[in-house]
Symmetry: none
Subunit: 153 residues, 2 copies
Amino acid sequence: MTKKLQDIHKRHSLIKTLISSQDVFNQTQLVKLLKQNGIKVTQATLSRDLTELGVVRVPTTKGVVYKIDSTGVEKTLQNHLSEEIVSVQSNESIIVLKTFPGRAQGVALFIDKNNLSEIIGTVAGDDTIIIVPKSIKSIDKTIQQLKNIIGFK
Amino acid sequence: MTKKLQDIHKRHSLIKTLISSQDVFNQTQLVKLLKQNGIKVTQATLSRDLTELGVVRVPTTKGVVYKIDSTGVEKTLQNHLSEEIVSVQSNESIIVLKTFPGRAQGVALFIDKNNLSEIIGTVAGDDTIIIVPKSIKSIDKTIQQLKNIIGFK
DNA sequence: AAATAATTTGCATAATTATGCACAATAATG
DNA sequence: CATTATTGTGCATAATTATGCAAATTATTT
């Protein structure tokens, strides 16, 4: 299942790679670049993709180019964040979040940036994040808030 | 003299103020906002203004909005960039750009951001920038491109 | 597995932005 | 001060991007 979802994810990744590695001046150009990489879509789809990815248009002396929004990295991450998370578990006092290998730091960074009221702090390893709730009494509430912002169901 | 120049500056300032203080979704809206502030210009002029100011278009859930480019503060400087530059010299292989004291970093940053095809890299001190051309054979071309984007005559 | 719901995409085109050109305004020069 | 050069602006429109809608694909439910 989710062949389609993978396709979208793949396309989005490629878009980010392309606009990071070279100057992309318009969406028609991007259509061609994707085609060269075996992905066939129309300008309309790219318009939607770029919006979803939070890609900004920046004017330069050479013309307008697309760029990953520096202030919007989290936004981009949020879309794919749930895909990086394996599980969220807890005992009476601590929450443990498991991610795919190497993703813990990034996910923890995102959690920290959101500065949740119910979370005192986090520590991230390679694929595991330890999350300390404000109070062990309200840990369920903390988990709820956490799942909420990372989009984990 | 330069009543006109002041007008432009005033308009640019107002544009920056407006897009910083509220959501501006398109240039037609901006035309109206300026009009309310006693400045009458057309969309065409605003298109040019926004480019000069380095204003970026950022997609949001509410639609596309204009924003001062966080990484592009220097872009605003472009107008004054040539005023910061003392000289552009070179030998057979390297270009040396001299600026007024303390300005080298900012100017180099600007050059880097423009990602010129003819330039491999730059190193900036306090008032001097070393610029490495793609090839020493085409160094004249490099200098031309460089002067071009920094507006140095 | 069939039926239903939800999502994705292309097409056509609306909406928006960028720009060539001509003219006007300003600055520079003699 | 007249002349020439430079810069800024509007107009008209070209270029680019966004979107309503329908069809197709994928996911969910029964």
